[in-house]
């Protein structure tokens, strides 16, 4: 039921919703095999309390996840949750450490909360597959840059060690009191042209694989101006064959909510009032790409 409202609210497509009941016939691996073949399905997200056939699931998931991301929310991962699962479906929730190992080995992206599962399912097909581990943060607020850096570590992302020549190139565009290195802190008083130039520089440099943007509301670069320029630069790059994952964190007045949706619908997963969620969804894409052998 949460998928219904979330997907309508987000404008996310849903190819099918299947409730497995007590799995007396069809079970998880059957569905993986079915949706593997379904051209209308790009991502498979599932919630379960136990797996009927763990080995069958692991084998199917390992194969399917090479081409389509498989996301899993395993409920009953604590003792209290497992007791509740046993009353609910009779599920033997099992040792969570075992599930964790099985899911990881099978290339499944584990979500630890309902909202994470939904956010990953939405972002996964929007983000292009990264070609390498080098992530750069460009931010209009130093404080956001610090929180975004923390979030990168949490999400298992590598902040690129900034090469000297690229650092010098960024410094051409930012005030002397801005911080180069990574995060690139363009500082809070900059016009749209600074965002535009630095984002273009990052996307055009072959050593940069992914980009995280920290936007900070100012009068000189209002939220929708930021959103439009980012969408323009991303489209301009795509026309040149450059298609890298870009996510954005937006801090500001309520207009940032509209700006975030505008960007999301143009291929840039963006979130208002959060420095963590955009980084987490990028991290989920990386987890998938690594497990699928694409990185």
């Amino acid at each position: 039921m949460a998928i219904v409202g979330y997907s309508r609210s987000a404008g996310m497509g849903v190819s099918a919703i299947v409730g497995l009941g007590n799995k007396s016939d069809i079970d998880e691996d059957d569905l993986l095999a079915f949706f593997e073949q379904d051209d209308n399905t790009q991502v498979i997200a599932q919630h379960f309390e136990d797996l009927k056939d763990g080995r069958g699931f692991a084998e199917a998931a390992q194969r399917v996840s090479k081409t389509k991301p498989v996301i899993a929310l395993k409920a009953g991962r604590t003792a209290a949750g497992a007791r509740a699962a046993s009353s609910h479906t009779g599920a033997l929730a099992g040792d969570d450490k075992v599930y964790d190992d099985v899911l990881r080995a099978a290339g499944v992206i584990r979500a630890y909360s309902l909202r994470d599962m939904l956010d990953y399912a939405r972002a996964m097909p929007v983000l292009p597959t990264p070609k390498g581990e080098n992530v750069i943060i460009i931010t209009g607020a130093g404080g956001s840059g610090v929180l975004l850096s923390d979030a990168c570590v949490e999400a298992g992302l590598e902040l690129m060690n900034m090469p000297g020549d690229l650092d010098a190139a960024f410094r051409e565009f930012i005030p002397p009191f801005g911080a180069a290195g990574n995060p690139v802190d363009i500082t809070g008083g900059e016009p749209p042209s600074t965002y535009r130039a630095t984002i273009r520089l990052a996307l055009e440099d072959e050593r940069v694989d992914s980009l995280i943007l920290g936007y900070w509301h100012t009068i000189i670069t209002p939220p929708m101006v930021f959103a439009e320029l980012v969408a323009e630069v991303v489209a301009e790059m795509k026309a040149k064959g450059i298609d890298k994952p870009v996510v954005a964190s937006l801090a500001g007045d309520v207009e940032v909510e509209e700006a975030a949706e505008y960007l999301y619908q143009r291929g840039v997963p963006s979130f208002a009032y959060s420095t963590e969620i955009p980084v987490q969804v990028l991290g989920a894409k990386y987890r998938w790409a690594r497990a699928a052998g694409l990185l």
Copy 2:
């Protein structure tokens, strides 16, 4: 800047926003002492990269947090974040384990993400202080009950060991295939009267200290019908002097967003498409109440 948009969007009051700059004169403990005295302030939330005077802060926070919740988002808690903080403000971010210990000892509720800080700040003054550790979950969906149970363990909440007489009393209202125990699973086909009777039973029982609701969208009890009945029962109890923390998780079609806001504005922090956030904010209230010696 994130506070501006989040608070306007949520209808959350903000008594003041103070940026400390480089703390050459006024620092964190001065502000704690100021807002301790300010009758217009119910909660103090802060984001910092380091503390100028750790001992002074710990002393002030320990005193202030006895009466007003103090929430802290410490940025630069990873090595990459600390490096970014050093470029940004020159902060020596320090050993995060030390911050964790200092903040906990001082009764400060630590938030690990920007969104958590905002969600805690909004929920804290809305939720009454619990009088004990006994938490009950009432849910219209067994699956939500399992996820809510997991979230309780994560948030350090105690699921009440259901007394036999109370269990029997709940069973009077729910179908035989529903699960009593805790979570109380009233099952998905129940009319508003079942929600009403079970919520009233939980709130009236002196052994129950807090209530977590899991709503699941059905035609027989639509989202706004659920929201209105919960608000009514909570108001009816308040009139009788019963004021316990109640939070809700709503899964369903887009109407649950409106229902969640309706409930939040009537004293029940509620969240659409999440089983974790309502439990986390209740957990934050408990952390504060324990540290303040109120439990």
